[in-house]
């Protein structure tokens, strides 16, 4: 009850004109960061920190949080419209979102993403209010051992549910993992697989690879077809039909749960929940063959999980002072610079501030919805630009994005190289998403496995001692075992195709 009183007081503060304006400014700036590729939420937030120095701490935090959410949503727009994820968490949205855009349903895809983001974000914040501290403490039990098991489960599910392309998906996963090995050894610190190329010292950049595999490859494919307009869209019909709403409702619910739960665990990152939610949605769907071909549930689940994750990730930060992702770490730095130390004592020491900020999470999520729904038509209009112009624009966008990240020309070549590779892979009907997932998860997987083995003194038996890890590892074994030994079990899935 006391929490509720605090929250109401928080709302009273968050709804003042001043703080509303801060939240609004944050949402707009964040959306811009999300739209610009190469400028991820972490870098974007860091750059904008000085902007908040002249504000009071509450206002600064409200604005920075809004920037963070805005960026999480902004990445969706480019994913849907031009198949270029503006930030990592939007990779999954490309899969069905862009297909929807090709079918002239870009507006609907953006609308359902905005609605899903709002629902996921709001519900996650409700859960944050209700159970922040006990949940965060529980989530700490999830250590390197369980973490590794989770990653293995995630990768295996993506492969196992790839349908008739299972072997190709497995191959792509392994290629992704191999690419992830390039760079500095995460424990010994020794450089490896760089072949003396200094630029490879830091590994292959994720952003240029994704932009190449998705964006540039798409341009090459589209150019082949000699389209004059990339997409013919009916811009007045962006509101999802009743059928689409019904299909999305379940996806939004499940996406919220997955995003929230994974958001509690430090270090998971925004992309894992979106993949997990997508894979689950395909698994429970009666028509999994629609996935990858413009299924609205695919967009709804990924985008909902993305925002539920973003809000849930605030739980370990506010309750324990543990940032669970690089972006949250930047946010935490901003908190500290503004004189606020996140952690278990924040709720006692500065209740008025915490609750105002939490209330502003609700306000921010609502603002994003209000801001984005009317703009959906405007964004979708971009697709009316003649293909030749749009194509050049997208290519410039990709070059700037891949260069901007590290000011490295090498990354631009990587992006173009992977564009050609992506084009060939698409021609050969190889799925791209498993390689990307493996590329992102690879370093985290390797680090957690090696930390696990340091903890056990080199013995793999540690996985048997930890029930949660054991359960997580059992899931992929069962799924893949069933696929291999009893091909009939998932027959309907095998007809489908994950990209």
């Amino acid at each position: 009850m006391e929490a509720l009183n605090h929250l109401l007081a928080g709302f009273a503060a968050a709804l003042t004109v001043k703080y509303l304006l801060f939240a609004l400014a944050g949402c707009v700036l964040g959306t811009l960061i999300g739209v610009l590729p190469g400028l991820g939420p972490a870098a974007g937030t860091a750059i904008l920190i000085p902007l908040t120095f002249s504000l009071d701490p509450t206002g600064a935090i409200i604005m920075l949080s809004a920037i963070y959410y805005g960026a999480m949503y902004g990445g969706t727009i480019t994913s849907v419209l031009i198949n270029v994820p503006g930030e990592a968490a939007s990779v999954v949205t490309c899969i069905d979102g862009y297909q929807m855009a090709l079918q002239g349903r870009a507006g609907t895809a953006l609308a359902i993403a905005a609605i899903g983001s709002f629902v996921g974000g709001t519900l996650a914040t409700v859960a944050l209010v209700a159970v922040a501290t006990p949940l965060a403490t529980l989530a700490l039990k999830f250590g390197p051992v369980e973490f590794f098991a989770l990653m293995v489960a995630g990768l295996c599910l993506v492969v196992g549910l790839a349908g008739k392309n299972m072997l190709a998906a497995l191959l792509m996963t392994v290629i992704g993992l191999l690419l992830a090995m390039i760079g500095v050894d995460p424990v010994r610190g020794a450089p490896r697989f760089g072949f003396g190329v200094e630029e490879l010292y830091d590994g292959i950049g994720f952003v240029p690879v994704v932009m190449g595999l998705f964006g540039v490859a798409e341009l090459l494919l589209a150019a082949e077809k000699r389209q004059t307009h990339m997409i013919q869209a009916d811009l007045n019909k962006w509101m999802p039909t009743r059928e689409e709403r019904r299909a999305s409702a379940g996806a939004i619910g499940r996406g919220t749960v997955i995003g929230f739960v994974l958001g509690l665990i430090p270090g998971v990152g925004a992309i894992v929940p979106t993949f997990m939610a997508y894979v689950l949605e395909k698994r429970v769907s009666r028509t999994p063959e629609r996935f990858g071909k413009g299924a609205i549930e695919g967009v709804a689940s990924a985008e909902t999980a993305n925002n539920a994750y973003a809000n849930a990730a605030m739980v370990p930060l506010l309750a324990l002072g543990i940032p669970s992702s690089p972006t949250i770490a930047v946010l935490m730095g901003a908190f500290i610079i503004n004189g606020i130390t996140p952690g278990p004592f924040l709720f006692q020491e500065r209740p008025e501030l915490v609750w105002t900020v939490i209330a502003s999470f609700f306000v921010g999520n609502a603002l994003l919805l209000v801001l984005n729904l009317p703009l959906v038509g405007l964004w979708a209009k971009l697709l009316k630009i003649p293909f030749s112009y749009l194509c050049a624009g997208v290519l410039i966008f990709c070059v700037i994005g891949s260069y901007g990240l590290k000011q490295s020309l090498f990354d631009v070549w990587v992006m173009l190289g992977f564009g050609i590779i992506g084009y060939l892979l698409r021609k050969l009907d190889f799925p791209i998403a498993p390689a990307i997932l493996a590329l992102i998860l690879g370093p985290m997987m390797e680090k957690s496995l090696r930390t696990t083995l340091e903890m056990s003194g080199g013995s793999f038996a540690i996985f048997l001692d930890r029930p949660a890890a054991l359960v997580l590892l059992a899931v992929p074994v069962i799924v893949i075992g069933a696929l291999v030994f009893r091909p009939g079990t998932f027959s309907k899935l095998r007809e489908s195709d994950t990209d």
Binding site: A42, A46, I49, P50, F53, T137, L140, K141, F142, G143, P144, V145, G183, V184, D185, P186, V187, R188, G189, A190, P191, V197, E198, Y201, D202, P266, G267, L320, G321, I322, P323, P326, I328, A329, V330, L331, M332, G333, I336, I337, G339, T341, G343, P344, F345, K447, T451, E454, M455, G457
Partner: protein, 322 residues
């Protein structure tokens, strides 16, 4: 690659010739300050406070750029390779720089001469800490437990050959015990690891957990320094507890890449030193639990050289164990 190196050479030659003119005009555009650790960590927090203060004196924006990875090696490489024109500076963390240089397997693209140590900002002594409700109430409890079960107690670092790793080695040597060493990437991971019960004890720095020790969430067993930390007056030092050889800390300061003109270095030194010595800086750093230790010029250069000798012994030892 060859082309790039040639351009760099040409650029540095041009800088050397044009240096007097550069110093008069320096700085004419924003300055980058590379931090070799992730945003939100204690190096980063200190650097951001310093950048915000020093840019007033420097008259140009100072942008903090995080280049985290490989225990700082990526960021240090970036600093060493930067064009020596005063527009790219970096935070060097000691003894992290020393140990990277000393480990041949890391194939460091820099050596101790690659940096000009300009101004030191922070000296953060090591802290040995456990969870607030841990059965180890004192360093003695921990040592006794480690003696009972050699190689079983999990002690975590913030990275291989970090100051925390060296502190564990010093402790093992001094108390004749053996820990199972787990390498994490950051103080944040250590916190999650210890609070989640995945590791037993963390070797870390005072600045990372000072608030949590004060609140009782974690328990400080010993500060690895000659004198007590002003932030944790109740936590004994390793020296008091009979381990005078277990002295380890992490220092962070601003360095410029080799070849930066001396008069430009002087401008940087003046601006940063003034910022570090300001009352505002002290207040802000106190708030985040970071102890200031301003060192510049010859004093910082001597510290830089002396530390190399101390780090050498333990690095060699660590390499032998690998």
């Amino acid at each position: 690659m060859i082309l790039r190196r040639r351009t760099l050479l040409a650029a540095s030659a041009a800088t050397a010739i044009a240096s007097p003119a550069i110093a008069q005009n320096y700085p004419r555009r924003p300055v980058q300050l590379i931090v070799a650790f992730a945003a939100g960590g204690s190096t980063d927090v200190g650097a951001r406070i310093l950048a915000a203060a020093a840019e007033k004196d420097l008259g140009q924006t100072i942008t903090v750029v995080n280049k985290a990875g490989a225990g700082g090696q990526l960021g240090f490489t970036e600093i060493a390779r930067a064009r020596p024109d005063g527009y790219t500076l970096g935070f060097i963390n000691l003894p992290a720089v020393n140990t990277i240089v000393l480990d041949p397997e890391r194939k460091a693209a820099f050596n101790m001469d690659s940096f000009i140590p300009v101004v030191n900002q922070v000296l953060d002594p090591g802290l040995i800490w456990v969870k607030g409700d841990s059965p180890y109430k004192s360093l003695k409890d921990l040592v006794d437990a480690a003696k009972k079960e050699p190689g079983k107690l999990r002690a975590c670092t913030t990275g291989i050959l970090s100051d925390d790793h060296l502190a564990i080695l010093m402790m093992q040597e001094a108390a004749k015990v053996d820990f199972r060493i787990v390498h994490f990437d950051s103080g944040t991971q250590q916190l999650a690891g210890v609070l989640g019960g995945h590791v037993d004890v963390a070797f870390d720095n005072v600045g990372s957990v000072v608030k949590r020790v004060q609140s009782g969430e974690v328990r400080g067993l010993a500060v690895t320094d000659n004198e007590r930390s002003k932030f944790l007056p109740d936590v004994p030092t390793t020296k008091e507890l009979g381990y005078p050889t277990v002295i380890s800390s992490s220092t962070r300061g601003v360095a410029a890449p080799k070849g930066t003109p001396a008069d430009v270095v002087k401008v940087i030194e003046t601006a940063f030193l003034k910022a570090i010595n300001s009352a505002d800086m002290k207040q802000k750093m106190d708030a985040v639990g970071l102890a200031l230790k301003p060192m510049a010029g010859a004093e910082y250069a001597k510290y830089y050289a002396d530390l190399q000798k101390q780090a050498q012994k333990y690095t060699e030892w660590a390499l032998k164990m690998r």
